[in-house]
């Protein structure tokens, strides 16, 4: 076996080469940058090493605002989108007529361009000299005060952001959950019927545990995806997210690199590593919970 080992490495070489150039090296680089104080990418110089970059980032009000926005987004959209997707999948699973049609309809947002979706949301929510947006028309129709969702109060902007994110991430979840539901053997439901199990109990005691691995998969990837949110925000609020107060952590990293106030790769690296630490922690917790509750 030992002799043939070089062959195995040969087969792995393309993957290893690509991964080390485009993944491992940048990761190490980011790690190094984050400790180099006053790093200048043009002259490739820095004047010291230490934790100053982290300290700066953690005291930057823009970064704190970005962290707050990101966390609100994660905490609201992951449970809401997963829950809604589960409800819709259960509905799809229990109808026979028009199932394919509805499946297609629910999957459409997945194949629609983010920016196109952003345009639609503009029409729904944005105030222009000519119109207040469709939602405001509705609010006024029912006797409410019109709200400026794009440039208005913080809660309105977060609301639009959450609705947008939920709407964008749901199709994939519905797709995964409908196939998970369809793969639960019919015999379990027949056995439950023989025992006279009430529908809600069938759901909580049989359906949910059977699809639990898929639900956990969606929650974990959902968390990671929501922490990395950025393009959706740009689609709605434009590129100057700091001004709108709607920046996210990834947005902050981007701004530090290339934005109007950019040119600080060290700060960007520190922020990216903080994000990495957060995502890692949450994912580990998620995995621990899912291991515990899907043991069979």
């Amino acid at each position: 076996m030992q002799k043939k080992n070089w062959k195995a490495w040969l087969y792995l070489l393309p993957a290893i080469a690509f991964l080390s150039v485009f993944m491992v090296y940048p990761l190490i680089d980011v790690f190094v940058y984050s400790f180099e104080e006053g790093y200048n990418s043009a002259s490739q110089t820095f004047w010291g090493t230490g934790l100053y970059n982290y300290s700066y980032v953690l005291h930057d009000p823009y970064f704190l605002q970005a962290v707050k926005n990101t966390f609100i987004l994660v905490i609201i959209t992951v449970p809401v989108s997963t829950g809604l997707a589960l409800l819709i999948s259960l509905g799809l699973n229990s109808i026979r007529r028009l199932r394919d049609f509805f499946q297609t309809v629910f999957f459409l947002p997945y194949v629609t361009n983010t920016l196109a979706v952003g345009m639609v949301f503009m029409i729904l929510f944005k105030k222009t000299p000519y119109s207040d947006g469709l939602i405001n028309l509705l609010i006024r129709f029912f006797g409410g005060q019109s709200v400026d969702f794009i440039d208005g109060p913080y809660w309105a902007k977060i609301l639009v952001m959450c609705i947008y994110t939920v709407w964008v991430v749901m199709p994939f979840k519905i797709l995964i959950l409908t196939s998970a539901l369809a793969s639960v053997p019919q015999d379990y439901y027949n056995a439950a019927r023989i025992d006279g199990t009430p529908p809600f109990r069938i759901f909580t005691r049989i359906t949910l545990p059977m699809i639990a691995p898929m639900v956990f998969y969606l929650v974990i990837t959902g968390f990671i995806g929501a922490f990395k949110a950025y393009s959706d925000e740009v689609a709605i609020f434009g590129t100057n997210l700091n001004a709108a107060g709607m920046n996210t952590i990834v947005g902050y990293v981007y701004d530090m690199l290339y934005g109007d106030s950019g040119g600080y790769p060290s700060y960007a690296s520190a922020a990216a590593l903080i994000l990495f630490a957060i995502v890692l922690t949450i994912t580990v917790i998620n995995l621990m919970i899912s291991r515990k509750s899907t043991q069979f």
């Binding site: 053997p185 027949n190 005691r205 043991q295």
Partner: protein, 419 residues
């Protein structure tokens, strides 16, 4: 776990106690109850069985499935099935795959609703009752144990679904689940998950889950098909024992005739949705009503020949094998069970000998005959009478009661008696 480790002792007093919970005639029960709690209560007595066992009446039961294509004809899975299954017995529903036996089981369980006809449990018409109100226990072919629950949770599950007055207390549920587990001898495995059990153990858990609600009728769908050969023998005796001890009317589906014959009180032979014959296993074997039943039952299979009746003699090819009392017929099918051949030096049936297979107690003689419908004829001969292969031919006398005549066209049996 194997059944020979644990002696099959049922805690009778407590299991019967369970049963008394489900019985409506309370006064009668309490009188008997005194009996039951008496430790000297005989194991042979089956007093308490009578209250719970149910006869199952199928009245012109028909199930049609609509055809997939619009022009095609409906598929008739069960066709006009009428029979009264007596209470407290073990019934084997036997037939080749696709004969409608599983559909019949699903109709009785309530998972399917019949197109026509009615089903009664005792005097109750259950035709349109949902499954949970019928009081049936169903053991699925692949057991359908919930993989995320332990054995105990699986057995408890049906009880936890009960509502209102029928719902027992927590301790009661646990006790009943343990009783059921003890009955099928898995009481030491209660904390395991199904994936940690062998096939045979999973089967027992499935039976315990079906029994824990003390059903009026126990239904088993191909209970042995997922087990290996050795376990199959053991488990079918287990099923027999469990059925005897609980006395519950049990219907099981199988395509294996040996399985059905060995443990059933009655077997029902089905094909293409029709019931061909119902009777005690031995009776059905000895007196098959038509060619299908005769060929379906028995291993090795019955040997078939083309024959004719001429002047009161039954001919197979040129050999006049038996004197019979029926009218002349140009063409009929003669069926002879393997054990119906007797070696005789100048016997009437002359066959070309091919091989003798040694099976220990018996020898199986393989030969050919020009009038045989199958390629070879197989006969079972006691080992001490075995012929020499070198002799080239072999002559048989036929046992008349192991010889059957069937109409060559319809396959209906033609009664005759040998003279």
């Amino acid at each position: 776990m194997s059944s020979d480790i644990v002696t099959p002792i049922l805690k009778r007093e407590s299991f019967s106690d369970i049963i008394s919970l489900t019985v409506s005639k309370k006064t009668d029960r309490q009188m008997i109850k005194g009996h039951i709690y008496d430790p000297g209560y005989g194991l042979e007595s089956d007093d308490w069985k009578r209250d719970t066992a149910m006869k199952v009446v199928l009245d012109h039961l028909t199930k049609r499935f609509p055809s997939r294509s619009k022009k095609g004809e409906d598929v008739i899975a069960v066709n006009d099935f009428t029979f009264e299954i007596p209470d407290g017995q073990l019934i084997g529903l036997l037939g080749p795959s696709g004969c409608g036996k599983s559909t019949t089981l699903n109709l009785i369980s309530g998972l399917e609703t019949p197109t026509e006809g009615r089903i009664y449990f005792g005097e109750d018409d259950v035709t349109h009752l949902p499954p949970e109100n019928r009081g049936v226990g169903l053991v699925f072919q692949n057991y359908a144990l919930y993989p995320h629950m332990t054995v105990l949770q699986n057995i408890l599950f049906p009880l936890q679904n009960l509502k209102g007055e029928a719902r027992p207390s927590k301790e009661d549920m646990r006790r009943r689940a343990e009783e059921a587990a003890r009955l099928v001898q898995i009481d030491m495995l209660l904390d395991r998950r199904p994936s940690e059990l062998s096939g045979g153990q999973q089967q027992r858990v499935a039976i315990a889950r079906a029994l824990v609600k003390t059903p009026r009728v126990l239904l088993l769908d191909e209970p042995l098909s997922n087990l290996d050969a050795r376990l199959r023998l053991q488990t079918r005796e287990e099923i027999r024992r469990i059925q005897r001890e609980t006395g519950v009317t049990t219907i099981f589906v199988t395509h294996d005739q040996e399985e059905a014959m060995s443990i059933s009180d009655l077997i029902i032979v089905m094909k293409d949705g029709f019931v061909h014959q119902i009777g005690k296993p031995q009776t059905v074997y000895d007196e098959p009503c038509n060619l299908f039943v005769a060929t379906f039952l028995g291993t090795p299979q019955i040997n078939l020949f083309e024959g004719r009746v001429e002047n009161g003699r039954l001919y197979i090819g040129q050999d006049a094998v038996l004197k019979v009392d029926c009218a002349d017929r140009e063409k009929l099918t003669v069926g002879i069970r393997p054990e119906g051949f007797v070696l005789q030096e100048n016997g009437p049936l002359c066959c070309a000998l091919q091989a003798v297979e040694v099976m220990g107690r018996d020898h199986s003689v393989v030969s050919t005959h020009p009038a045989a419908i199958s390629k070879t004829i197989r006969s079972i001969i006691p080992s001490e009478e075995s012929p020499h292969v070198k002799s080239g031919s072999v002559r048989f006398r036929l046992k008349p009661f192991k010889t059957y005549l069937f109409d060559a066209g319809t396959g209906e049996r033609i009664p005759f008696s040998a003279l």
